[in-house]
C-alpha cells in the first residue's frame, strides 16, 4: 500500500494548498444542502400525527447530535494519529474541531430541551442519554481548556490527544444508552439495517440537513485549520509569501 498521500497530508503547506481548492466547492454544497433541507423540513414536510409541528425541531436536533458525536470520534482519530505518527497537522485538526463539536453538543442539548417541554413535560430529565450527552459537552470543554492551559505546544498536543482518545468511550455509551437502560429518550429512528421509522417525506429533508451539517463542519474546520496553520508556521517563507499575497502589503 502506498502511504505517500498520508505523509503528504502531514505537510502544512500541502494541506493549505489543497484545502484552499476544496473550500469553494464545500461552501456551495453546504449552502445548497442546508437551504434545501431547512425549507423542505420546516415548510413542506407533513406535520407529525401526535406532536404536530413541534417535531420539526428534529431537523436541527438530529444533525447537531450526529455531528457532536462524529466530531468527537474524528478528534479521537486525530489524537491517535498525533500520538503515533507525531503529525502536527493532527493536533491542529484536534484543537480546531473541539469548539465546533462543543457548539454542536450545546445546540443538541438546547433543541432537545425546547422539544422536551411540550412533548415530555420537562425540559431536562436525568436519563442516561441526556446525561451522557452532557458529559460529551464537558469532554469538549475539557479538551479546549487543556489546549489553552498548557503553554508548551507539544505537551498540550499530547495531553489533548490522550483526553480525546480516552473520552471516545463515551460515544458508544451515548449511542446505546437508549437500548441498555430504560430512558425517557426514544430509541433511534434510523439504523443502517432497517428502514427508517418515518415516511420518506420526513426523512429525505432530514438526510439533506445531516449531509449539510457535515459539509458545514468541514468548511468551518478547514477555515479554522488554515488560519491556525498560518499562525503556527508564521516564520516560514511560504507563509510570509501567502500573507503578503492575501494582505497585499509587505511586512
Amino acid at each position: 500500500m502506498n502511504w505517500t498521500w498520508f505523509h503528504r497530508l502531514g505537510s502544512p503547506k500541502w494541506f493549505y494548498g489543497i484545502s484552499g481548492r476544496w473550500l469553494p466547492l464545500l461552501i456551495a454544497a453546504t449552502v445548497l444542502l442546508v437551504c434545501a433541507g431547512l425549507v423542505w423540513g420546516l415548510a413542506i414536510a407533513p406535520a407529525d400525527y401526535q406532536q404536530g409541528n413541534s417535531f420539526r425541531i428534529m431537523y436541527i436536533h438530529v444533525p447537531a447530535s450526529f455531528l457532536a458525536q462524529s466530531i468527537y470520534i474524528s478528534m479521537a482519530i486525530c489524537g491517535v494519529v498525533g500520538l503515533v505518527w507525531k503529525m502536527k497537522i493532527a493536533d491542529v485538526a484536534l484543537q480546531q474541531s473541539a469548539p465546533i463539536g462543543a457548539w454542536m453538543a450545546f445546540v443538541s442539548l438546547l433543541t432537545g430541551a425546547i422539544w422536551g417541554k411540550p412533548t415530555w413535560g420537562a425540559y431536562w430529565v436525568w436519563d442516561a442519554r441526556l446525561t451522557a450527552m452532557l458529559i460529551l459537552l464537558f469532554l469538549y470543554f475539557g479538551v479546549i481548556a487543556l489546549g489553552q492551559a498548557i503553554s508548551n505546544r507539544d505537551s498540550a498536543a499530547r495531553a489533548c490527544a490522550v483526553l480525546a482518545v480516552v473520552g471516545v468511550i463515551n460515544i458508544p455509551i451515548i449511542k446505546y444508552s437508549v437500548e441498555w437502560w430504560n430512558t425517557l429518550h426514544q430509541p433511534a429512528s434510523f439504523t443502517l439495517t432497517e428502514k427508517p421509522a418515518m415516511p420518506a417525506s420526513m426523512w429525505v429533508p432530514l438526510l439533506l440537513m445531516v449531509l449539510g451539517f457535515y459539509c458545514f463542519y468541514t468548511v468551518v474546520l478547514l477555515m479554522r485549520m488554515r488560519l491556525e496553520i498560518l499562525r503556527r508556521e508564521s516564520r516560514t517563507s511560504w507563509v510570509r509569501a501567502e500573507v503578503t499575497r492575501l494582505t497585499g502589503r509587505k511586512k
Binding site: 407529525d48 400525527y49 500520538l83 412533548t119 468511550i169 441498555w180 430509541p187
Partner: protein, 154 residues
C-alpha cells in the same frame, strides 16, 4: 510501520481497552441506578426500595383513565404486559398523554401499592408519521395493530 510507532499504537490501544473495561464494569455495576424508571413487573416483584421516590414507566392501559369530577386528580393503570401498577396524579398531564401512550411517573408507593405521583412525563417513541397516514390507519383499525407491532419489535 516502524517499530517505535507500532509500540506507541499498542500502548494507546492498551490504555483504551483498559479504560473501556473500567468504564464498562462501572456502568454494569451502576446499571440499576442508571435506569430512569422501574417497570410494573419490577414493582410487582418488590424490587423497589420502600419509602423512596421512584419513577414507574409503562404504557397507559386502555380504558383505565378515571378523572375526578371536581378535582384535577387522575387515576390510571400503567402496564408492561405482565404486571400493572395504579398511578394517582394531581395536576396537568402532558399533551401526549393518552391511553396506550408510554409514560413515566415520579412519586411514592403508598400502603395499597398505588403510586402517588406528582410528575407525569410522556415518553415519545421513535415513530413519526403524517396525520393523514395515522387517520387512514385509524379508520381501518390498523393503528393499534401498527403500534402493537412496533412495540413488540423492541
Amino acid at each position: 510501520m516502524n517499530p517505535v510507532r507500532k509500540k506507541r499504537l499498542i500502548i494507546i490501544l492498551a490504555i483504551l481497552s483498559g479504560m473501556a473495561a473500567t468504564v464498562g464494569l462501572a456502568v454494569f455495576a451502576l446499571s440499576e441506578n442508571i435506569n430512569l424508571f422501574y417497570t410494573p413487573t419490577e414493582i410487582a416483584a418488590g424490587k423497589v426500595p420502600a419509602d423512596a421516590r421512584i419513577r414507574a414507566g409503562g404504557l397507559v392501559k386502555e380504558g383505565s383513565v378515571q378523572r375526578n369530577e371536581d378535582a384535577l386528580t387522575v387515576r390510571f393503570v400503567v402496564t408492561d404486559g405482565d404486571a400493572d401498577v395504579t398511578i394517582e396524579y394531581r395536576g396537568i398531564l402532558p399533551d401526549l398523554f393518552r391511553e396506550g401512550q408510554g409514560i413515566v411517573a415520579l412519586g411514592r408507593l403508598n400502603a395499597q401499592g398505588v403510586l402517588v405521583s406528582d410528575e407525569v412525563l410522556a415518553k415519545h417513541d421513535e415513530n413519526y408519521m403524517p396525520p393523514e397516514v395515522s387517520d387512514a390507519l385509524e379508520k381501518t383499525g390498523m393503528l393499534k395493530h401498527y403500534e402493537a407491532t412496533q412495540e413488540s419489535k423492541k
